[in-house]
């Protein structure tokens, strides 16, 4: 095609503009991987590429709709539905189930319960819509500034408030924005002035200066010296002014309490969530264990090895955390899950021996972490109800004191790991705390009790996240001295390890709150406890050769739920042995009261990041933006519609005046304003000659008669409404 003969902008140039838009959109996608739990961004980028390509080719709308829709289904299928034959009956019913479940969740505002499949569908649809919208903005309207502005705001906000580092992104955005703004402006000018532009001949006239300007401004911007921020970090600034802990400590993020998987970056504040997770009928309070982690990275916890699951036979769980020497008592309990919390792992007490949960349920144990996955029909599932038989241990304190220091090599290797750059002062502190103790148990106790006596604060808000070069434990022990269970338990494990005491970090739940007493037990009473998300917790297990892993509770306001037995025969040590548990007793009561009074002082284990919400927030914002944009785009039509409805029912002068003045406003908006010294007739003449019609003239005539002659002719209303509508259509076109 020879475009030079008319003033249309060649496809090549509009495409370049559109591709610029695509690259800007990519800047929206890149951070998603970092700030949300999206694991594979490439799929979405691929889909975006596809959608933009299809839009760019400007094929028939129904064909592009089909193509994009098919791509969406294909992606969803290959991501989530590989177990079902594509487009089979099962496939459809699964999709239907998923969607109806999620819609239900949406209506109940259970944002956290939306499944990845549904979220992905929503996200893909968002990308789809964006491809259309950007095509409209960039190619048709050539109004791109707003989108660029939003992109920059988005990047700066993410850079400030999340882990995402937008250094590169902002430079890229700058370059793309300048190029596309330059082009769009030229194209708009060409459109507006109906310039005949010899595109091929004169391209260099504008291409070269544009590139030169962008190149030099980028170069200057990049090379120029930059001031450090003049304002303080806005994150603490935005929070309460009265904070001491959070200020300048590398920022923090608010999370929501609950059991989660990822502990690689601990720290930050969280909000309490009292959604019930499960209820259990137990005779005695005890910890609900889920898993342990063994590798401390300086920021959080990871596992040393990928889990190696062994299927457990007949529900017998072959997990031994302590040796047979430990005195135990046989107990059983029934766990009933509530609400929508999905934990596809067994939540179990110490000494678990057998689980019953229906026939098709399989239990896979990872010996290393003590994690027991629950599977139904070979699919990971969260169980609704199960009963557990367990041997509740009771550790004899004198046995613990007497335990040898000869750790098995494997245990020693695995559980005394520490990061290489761990600040030395942590070890020095641990040594100082334990200097007067001569056995492992007392040392462990000394460290456990250290926090309660040295001005540490239990708090869930204003808890800092360590900076890039800062150690999580170091920050807690020496700087912030304020935090929740993760801070306490991690610090204790690390301090134990500096003393070469094998220790590990345990996640699970505390016993929760008693909601019913003495329910139908035969010999002994069972109490029903309700465990909520706020009961998620982390604590410490220390290794004692010959005895096994013994739980300890360093967190202020929490008591060790494990039984310790005092050997009364050993009178010499009685004082000492009593000291620790006795000391805890009042603390337990006191703190439990405190727990009730100040609700937030509850437990947290691995918190679920609120950051995950960024996905929804992005989707939400996207949808709102699209809606707002559509409303904004259609605002004149909407207003026109409202007015015409009003005018249909009311024929009074006031309504007509409103309608007529709305028309004036609309015309003014579309570049034909009336100057105040222009009479309506003169103006109408101008409008009518512009639109080659006489509608404005007729409407004006009627309005004039109404305005200057107090005349209202109701028989003409219908005709006028029609004229008015026609004219508005004309203006809109």
């Amino acid at each position: 095609m020879n475009f030079a003969k008319d003033n249309r902008i060649p496809f090549l140039y509009t495409s370049v503009l559109y591709i610029c838009g695509f690259f800007l959109f990519l800047e929206w996608l890149y951070p998603i991987q970092q700030v949300t739990d999206t694991s594979d961004l490439n799929v979405f980028i691929l889909f975006a590429v596809f959608c933009f390509l299809v839009s760019m080719l400007q094929i028939k709308w129904w064909f592009s709709f089909l193509l994009k829709g098919f791509a969406l289904v294909f992606i969803i299928n290959s991501l989530f539905m590989t177990t079902y034959a594509f487009l089979s009956k099962l496939w459809f019913s699964y999709i239907f189930m998923e969607i109806s479940f999620n819609i239900n969740m949406l209506f109940h505002q259970q944002w956290y319960e939306l499944t990845p499949l549904f979220r992905s569908i929503l996200f893909l649809i968002l990308i789809w819509l964006m491809s259309y919208l950007l095509h409209y903005w960039f190619v048709i309207m050539k109004r791109i500034f707003v989108f660029i502005l939003f992109t920059i705001i988005y990047l700066t906000v993410l850079d400030t408030f999340t882990v995402y580092d937008a250094d590169g992104a902002i430079v890229r955005t700058f370059i793309i924005s300048f190029v596309s703004l330059g082009m769009a402006n030229l194209f708009k000018e060409v459109d507006r002035e109906s310039i005949r532009f010899a595109w091929t001949k004169n391209s260099w006239i504008w291409i070269f200066p544009l590139i030169a300007v962008v190149f030099f401004s980028t170069l200057i911007g990049y090379a120029a010296p930059k001031y450090d921020p003049q304002w303080p970090d806005p994150v603490p600034f935005l929070k309460s002014a009265a904070e001491q802990a959070g200020g300048g400590e590398g920022g923090s993020s608010v999370r929501r309490v609950g059991y989660g998987e990822d502990d690689s970056r601990l720290g930050g504040s969280f909000v309490q969530d009292y959604t019930p997770v499960f209820q259990a009928a137990v005779k005695d309070e005890h910890y609900w264990r889920i898993e342990t982690k063994d590798v401390y990275t300086g920021k959080g916890w990871e596992r040393s090895a990928e889990p190696n699951y062994e299927t457990q036979v007949n529900g017998y769980i072959a997990l031994d955390t302590f040796s047979d020497n430990v005195k135990t008592e046989k107990h059983d309990t029934v766990v009933e899950f509530q609400g929508n919390t999905m934990i596809e792992k067994l939540v179990y007490p110490y000494g678990i021996s057998q689980v019953e949960a229906g026939e098709a349920t399989a239990f896979l144990l990872d010996q290393n972490s003590g994690e027991i996955r629950t599977r139904v029909n070979n699919v990971d599932r969260s169980l609704a109800e199960y009963s557990i038989t367990y041997d509740m241990p009771s550790f004899a304190i004198d046995e613990l004191r007497k335990a040898s220091l000869e750790d098995p090599t494997a245990i020693n290797d695995q559980y005394t790991q520490l990061p290489e750059n761990l600040p030395a002062r942590i070890g020095e502190l641990a040594k100082e705390i334990t200097s007067s103790d001569n056995n492992r148990y007392d040392r462990v106790r000394a460290i456990e009790n250290y926090f309660g006596q040295n001005g540490f604060q239990y708090q869930t808000s204003d808890v800092p996240i360590p900076k890039e070069n800062q150690d999580y434990v170091d920050q807690f022990l020496f700087e912030s001295k304020a935090g929740y269970c993760d801070n306490y338990s991690t610090s204790m494990v690390v301090m134990l390890r500096t003393l070469d005491i094998p220790a590990r970090w345990v996640k699970g739940f505390t016993s929760g709150e008693k909601i019913a007493d003495n329910i139908g037990g035969t010999d002994e009473s069972y109490d029903v406890y309700e465990v909520t998300n706020a009961n998620a917790h982390s604590w410490v297990e220390a290794y004692f050769p010959g005895i096994g892993w013994v739980p300890f509770e360093p967190t202020q306001g929490f008591s060790n739920l494990t039984d310790f037995e005092i050997n009364l025969e050993n009178l010499e040590e009685q004082d000492d042995t009593l000291q620790a548990p006795e000391q805890e007793k009042p603390e337990k009561e006191l703190k439990q009261e405190e727990e009730k009074d100040t609700a937030p002082a509850a437990e947290n284990n691995t918190t679920m990041k609120l950051d995950i919400n960024w996905g929804y927030v992005a989707i939400g914002i996207g949808i709102i933006m699209i809606l707002a944009f559509l409303l904004y785009r259609k605002r004149y039509q909407l207003r026109a519609m409202m007015l015409s409805v009003k005018f249909r029912s009311k024929h009074d002068a006031k309504t007509y005046q409103e309608a007529y003045h709305y028309l004036l406003k609309l015309l003014s908006y579309s570049g034909l304003p009336r100057s105040s010294n222009q009479t309506l007739r003169e103006y109408a003449k101008r409008i009518d000659s512009r639109y080659s019609s006489d509608e404005m003239g007729q409407l004006t005539d009627y309005y004039e008669r109404m305005l200057y002659n107090n005349e209202i002719n109701e028989t003409e209303t219908k005709k006028l409404t029609q004229l008015w509508k026609n004219l508005i259509k004309r203006i809109m076109a």
């Binding site: 002068a653 006031k654 005046q657 003045h661 105040s676 010294n677 222009q678 009479t679 309506l680 007739r681 003169e682 003449k685 000659s689 004039e704 008669r705 109404m706 305005l707 200057y708 002659n709 107090n710 005349e711």
Partner: protein, 320 residues
């Protein structure tokens, strides 16, 4: 420019058609003269001789079946030459009034600035009072009564320019202007044989005209439009190039003229367009420019246009 069709009142259209048979390209001046006539005002025509002033008035008079009189003002013209004189009648043994040319229906006062102020004021008084007083006797003027005075703007030698205060006795001040090349050719063609004025006939009579004049008074003028008129008048009083602005009499004149203009265009209500169109003709001779403005070469018309430009037009009704 696209020529748009203008809707006229039926009778007025007949008159204008008649005038168009004689005059070429003078429809707007003719319509404006009618405005003054219907509003019971008078016109001051300022133009060089020979552009058709007399022809216009004569055609008008003939079309309206009116009595046409012409006074050629000269420096030696006496007031009694305008108003008339009482002559002793020996038969009746008493003085008998012989009416002057002012006692016609349509009077052409040619070159009014050539005569002495005394004679000028005799005319202007008659226009204002609608009667003449001779020898203690008051004689009413004929109805309808319409004066079209002309002024030669070129020659100032031996002239007595009308004082500004007296100029506002005229409702409108008009200019004929030269015809275009085509129009002038048309004039030549039309007058080659007989003059077309001989062929035209009256289309309405005096009584009808008086009736129309009464109807004009009933044309409705909305508050909005009155606001506009007042805005214009006050605008002239505030304008930096104007030494003396339009008096309230000017506002009244504008309103009257606008009513007549609306009537001519077959409307029984005034719209701001009427006012806006008429303002230069009604107002430009009622203002006195500052010497600076005169020195800058501004004309009264230009200044009035600038006032119009700065005056906003009310287009919204207040509902209570």
């Amino acid at each position: 420019m696209m020529q748009e069709t203008i809707i006229y009142n039926e009778s007025i259209e007949k008159v204008l058609t008649n005038i168009n048979k004689v005059m070429i390209g003078k429809e707007d001046v003719a319509a404006l003269s009618l405005v003054a006539l219907l509003a019971q005002g008078h016109v001051l025509l300022e133009d060089v001789p020979g552009v058709g002033k007399t022809m216009l008035v004569r055609t008008l008079a003939k079309s309206l079946d009116c009595d046409f009189r012409r006074i050629q003002f000269t420096p030696d013209l006496l007031p009694s030459d305008v108003t008339g004189i009482s002559i002793y009648n020996p038969k009746e043994l008493e003085f008998e009034f012989r009416g002057g040319p002012i006692l016609g229906n349509i009077v052409l006062a040619d070159e009014i600035n050539r005569t002495s102020p005394k004679t000028q004021s005799a005319l202007l008084e008659a226009m204002e009072e609608k009667n003449v007083t001779v020898d203690g006797k008051t004689i009413p003027l004929k109805q309808p009564f319409f004066v079209m005075a002309t002024q030669n703007p070129i020659e100032y030698e031996g002239t007595y320019p009308l004082p500004e205060a007296q100029l506002d006795r005229f409702l409108l001040k008009l200019k004929m202007g030269y015809p275009s090349w085509e129009q002038e050719l048309g004039i030549l063609e039309r007058t080659a044989k007989d003059h077309p004025i001989e062929q035209i006939e009256a289309v309405i009579n005096k009584d009808e005209l008086i009736g129309i004049q009464a109807e004009v008074k009933n044309v409705y003028i909305d508050k909005n439009v009155q606001h506009y008129i007042v805005n214009l008048a006050t605008g002239t009083r505030r304008h930096s190039a104007i030494y003396l602005g339009v008096s309230p009499r000017g506002s009244i004149a504008l309103m009257k003229a606008a009513k007549a203009y609306a009537y001519i265009h077959a409307r029984d209500y005034v719209i701001p367009d009427d006012v806006k169109y008429l303002a230069p003709f009604v107002l430009s001779h009622r203002i006195i420019l500052t010497s600076e403005a005169k020195y800058d070469g501004l004309s009264s018309e230009q200044v009035i246009h600038s006032v119009i430009k700065n005056t906003h037009i009310p287009i919204r009704k207040e509902f209570h």
